[in-house]
Symmetry: C2
Subunit: 275 residues, 2 copies
């Protein structure tokens, strides 16, 4: 496989979210030769969308995605507020030239055990966001999250489930394949083939640590865990996916405590040997 | 749905594993009117298999399962030791009159990222165990574990995957459906139907807490989390499953610290209202 050079990596701002704002992330990418960036919206808003778009453009960075739209389920009904917020997310993604808007769809409504209802809310929310996204020409990427997040973050938890939704909703929607969420799935490679180039909109990398000490914030740097990243990357690329390898690491116990330049240098090194 | 009476519950000894040995569990079940028990092998060995079989019989308890066989992958080859140990587990299950031997199949071999290899080891191990289990007439139940255990406990993580294995291996093998591991799966109800009466060998209940503070030992009492247990139970029972509702709660932070009689009383109460 041979790994990837830094120009094939993208920095998801979550990886250094405790250390850097977006402007610093953009400078850091330029300094380390990293080819792209994927901002979270809080960081984007802090910097200002127009200023960020300009700085990203001037730094010559690709935007592998905007994180995140979605979160359709929290109140148990699909309110105008969440629809409007997703509409704004689409527009922001367009303004910064993102390859896609990544959707974390939301888990069970507060106090609910009704997963079917949550699934229905998610699909309706995606459909309504997609109406606007198609007008703007912004691809919408459903990110299936690991099943351990089904209750409180996203009730779309496998590639199969995400692609079933895509099939029902039609054009302009696909998946963000994050190895952390899907590596365990015996169905993964079949579903990557099913997705094909048209539905594969983003590819995220990090690693699954053994042991994992926290459900949310103990993700590993590529190479420090058990995920066969080269195999998954090869499968995605053999479908024609040509996007960047977006590095998104939630790590309260390790990487969020380090010098961010060390984090980026490590990420570049591991891109070469562990992706 | 209406919940279930204590005679329809089974106590998995893991639920009070820090407080009670098997003899105390047997007495506790009798005292609380609980219909069955499911020992873990360490507790069974401590008491002695023959003594346990006699005490369980005299208490009139059903044995909903023996936990656990499996663990085929640890060394990366299927050694005679693990084959022999599973053979012994089959014999122990038969000796105590268990409804099935529950299999936790094992995760990735130490230092490996090769999930396909792990899957192959598991299937070979199950096949070889099944040879003996069929002779003895002991049903083998694959327990798909939650995907968050794929690396270090079990690389069979969905009902679909378990049933695919069952289809390849033939008679005498089925699944243990534990709501904690499968509740999130959009494919769950289809796979329960697919399993049918013949492949549904055990039904385990507890609850998924939000937040979950530990990957292994923060399971909830029925009713304290987000799992729609009555719906899953109804699906299993509509296939003709007539076994007990086995309560298996790993809870270092809560139930393992309580008076075990309080745990059993709560379990009985929650059986009535939250199952």
């Amino acid at each position: 496989m041979g790994g990837v050079g830094p120009e094939r990596l993208s920095l998801n701002t979550a990886t250094v979210r405790e250390q850097w704002g977006l402007a610093q992330c953009i400078d850091g990418c330029a300094r380390h030769g990293i080819g792209g960036i994927a901002p979270w919206r809080d960081k984007l808003h802090e910097m200002g969308v127009a200023a960020a778009a300009k700085a990203i453009r001037e730094a010559g960075l690709t935007v592998s995605g905007l994180c995140r739209g979605g979160w359709f389920t929290a109140t148990g009904t699909l309110g105008q507020e969440v629809i409007d917020d997703n509409r704004r997310a689409v527009d922001e993604a367009a303004e910064i030239g993102a390859a896609c808007l990544v959707m974390v769809v939301g888990g069970l409504p507060d106090g609910s055990r009704d997963l079917s209802r949550a699934h229905a809310l998610v699909e309706e929310g995606l459909a309504r966001t997609l109406d606007h996204a198609r007008e703007v020409g912004m691809p919408v990427a459903i990110e299936p999250l690991h099943p351990m997040y089904a209750a409180d973050r996203a009730c779309v938890n496998t590639m199969r489930q995400a692609l079933d939704i895509c099939d029902r909703l039609g054009e302009g929607i696909g998946v963000a394949c994050d190895v952390y969420h899907v590596w365990w799935d015996p169905d993964l490679y079949d579903q990557i083939r099913r997705a094909g180039r048209e539905r594969l909109l983003a590819f995220h990398v990090c690693d699954w640590l053994v042991p994992t000490r926290d459900l949310l914030t103990d993700r590993g740097m590529m190479g420090d865990g058990v995920i066969d990243i080269p195999r998954i990357r090869a499968a995605v690329e053999s479908e024609g996916f040509g996007g960047l390898n977006e590095v998104e690491i939630f790590s309260a116990l390790n990487w969020w405590r380090r010098d961010p330049d060390e984090v980026l240098a490590t990420m570049v090194e591991r891109g070469r040997i562990s992706c």
